[in-house]
Amino acid sequence: MTLPSAASPAAASSARAPIIVVTDLRKRYGDLVAVDGVSFEVAEGEVFGILGPNGAGKTTTLEMIEGMRPIDEGGAVIDGVDVRRDSREVKRRIGIQLQASAFFDELTLIELLDLFGRLYGRAVEPMELLAEVELTDKAKSQVRTLSGGQKQRFSIASALVNQPRVLFLDEPTTGLDPQARRHLWALVRTLKDRGHTVVLTTHYMEEAEELCDRVAIMDGGRIIALDTPQVLIDQLVGRGFTKARVERLANLEDVFIDLTGHELREED
């Protein structure tokens, strides 16, 4: 590594060329300001988390960047392409997993991946994609037969058909059991290792800590904090924060995983 020495990892990652540049993004629905001047940059190969309570504007922000929702004010440039100018070109370069991962229920996984490939004008190898998300045994099943975790993994496979440079995952682990969640974390790390840039939203702080190089915390349509999880924690402690109860060596989730194992369960 020949990175220049830097004060924080955040500075280190932004030293690389940013693949996403978001500037002063705004969205308004009538009187409600959903997104109120959001700016951030994401470096190539980074896993970037957007955290925040419900209604904070996470999904709206994501959808504007993805070209799924018109931008009122501000802008977003992904991989050098301005979303407001050419949202279609942006969509060509990114992979999107929507919060509600619904597909055409009556089609099989192979048929769907093949179809999605065509929507990007690409020939895909459905079995390879399914192997990446460990769904080869379900290849000929219809989507409606999949469990929640399987649907989420399939959703990621469908987001990979165009070999995207940036992958957007909107609450990828919501509703999953601890095993399925860990399974998905492993998948995200694999994607990162392969050089994909990942932007994800989540409600689970341990997930953000586990996966994200940097996180932005949103509330009321604004980013109220943005740094690496470690720096944010250090800052809080620096302000004199102490936990009411001292952290134990393990928590209940560790107990749960220890007792029930890492092995993936499917509810089918």
Binding site: E66, M68, R88, E89, K91, R92, I96, L98, Q99, A100, S101, A102, F103, F104, D105, E106, L107, E111, D114, L115, F116, R118, L119, Y120, G121, Q142, S158, A159
Partner: protein
């Protein structure tokens, strides 16, 4: 362009697969009409024993009106009067069993063998015609006796039959011939309103449609592939229904091409209605009452199962402008009467206007989310 066509075909094939694999949609759009057709076919509403008798009164004297009056006493005769040409046309079209012509020189007192009464009989169903001829002969003889008591012997059958029969080439239309075009019209309506509206609203609600927005392909491709797939599926369904109808004795007197044009126009109307409902509604709960509100009145008032003639006058007046009424009339016109496109001008015009109206509404109301 070639790749776009390939993509379109892939979307089309996917749309067809999605429909065929959706058992609920398949049941409501294909099996339900079939079951209804079988039930109504088995019940067979033509089981009545009345003879439809057209009378052409060329004499126009007391004798002839007395005869007609007496014939009207027979309950198994369903009498209508008219001009020779129009009545013979009705006979050819299968709407009359017999047409009895009372000659201009008809007088009371002529011996039964010399009445000059001629009855034209339909050739379509010889066995039934035989029975009908016997019944008619009896009725006329009886009516003569009753009309002019004493003028002729009481036993007309002995002295000779009063009516001479002539056969006329004609169609014999059964209930199945009436029913199948109605079922075809109903099926097309159901496909548009339920096959399209519900399937599409579901894609909207679950977010499957939104997933398409995440790709660089315009959703218009998907929409047009959906419309095309439903058009093709509609034709397949109509073909199956008519095929089974033919097996049950359905007759086709018109051109298949004209039928295809009518079915195509009908499909366009109801697909547009379906997409208007689907485009407007956010979920199935919103779509259901609207779809029912549109389809139920037409199901019962557009002459699907029973002729609209039986309806009260005011209701007939209102319901004659409903899209399914035009569709059913046009379908029966081509299948039962062998009508061509020009003969069906009024119906086609009505359908065309509805196609434009429904298309405009669909475009106006359509929302992707």
């Amino acid at each position: 362009m070639a790749t776009n066509l390939g993509l379109w075909w892939a979307l089309f094939a996917a749309s067809v697969k999605m429909f065929v694999r959706n058992r609920v949609a398949l049941f409501f759009s294909l099996f339900l009409p079939l079951i209804i057709m079988l039930i109504f076919g088995v019940l067979n509403f033509e089981g009545s024993t009345t003879i439809s008798l057209g009378i052409v009164d060329e004499a126009g004297n007391d004798a002839s009106s007395a005869l007609i009056e007496q014939l009207a006493e027979y309950e198994y005769l369903e009498i209508s009067e008219g001009e020779r040409e129009s009545e013979l046309q009705e006979l050819e079209d299968g709407d009359r069993g017999f047409v009895l012509v009372i000659p201009s020189d008809y007088e009371p007192g002529v011996p039964p063998g010399d009445t000059g009464l001629v009855a034209y009989a339909s050739t379509s169903d010889p066995s039934q015609a035989q029975v009908g001829q016997g019944l008619l002969q009896q009725a006329v003889a009886g009516a003569m006796v009753a009309a002019f008591p004493g003028s002729i012997p009481d036993t007309p059958n002995v002295t000779g039959a009063p009516v001479t029969f002539e056969s006329v080439e004609s169609r014999d239309l059964g209930y199945i011939d009436f029913l199948v075009p109605g079922i075809v019209g109903m099926t097309v309506m159901q496909l548009g309103l339920f096959g399209v509206a519900f399937g599409f609203v579901q894609l909207k609600r679950t977010g499957a449609l939104r997933r398409l927005f995440a790709t660089p392909t315009s959703p218009a491709y998907f929409l047009s592939a959906q419309v095309a797939s439903r058009l093709v599926l509609g034709y397949v369904q109509v073909a199956i229904l008519i095929g089974i109808g033919i097996w049950f004795g359905l007759q086709m007197f018109g051109s298949w091409l004209v039928l295809a044009v009518i079915v195509g126009l009908a499909l366009l109307i109801f697909l547009a209605v379906g997409f208007a409902v689907a485009g407007w509604a956010k979920n199935e709960d919103q779509a259901a009452p609207v779809a029912n509100l549109i389809s139920l009145p037409m199901l019962f008032l557009s002459g699907v199962f029973f002729p609209r003639d039986a309806m009260p006058e005011f209701l007939r007046g209102i319901t004659q402008y409903m899209p399914l009424t035009y569709v059913n009339e046009a379908l029966r016109g081509v299948m039962n009467d062998g009508a061509g496109l020009i003969d069906l001008g009024p119906q086609l015009l009505g359908m065309g206007i509805w196609a434009v109206i429904t298309f405009v509404i669909a475009v106006r109301l359509f929302k992707w989310e």
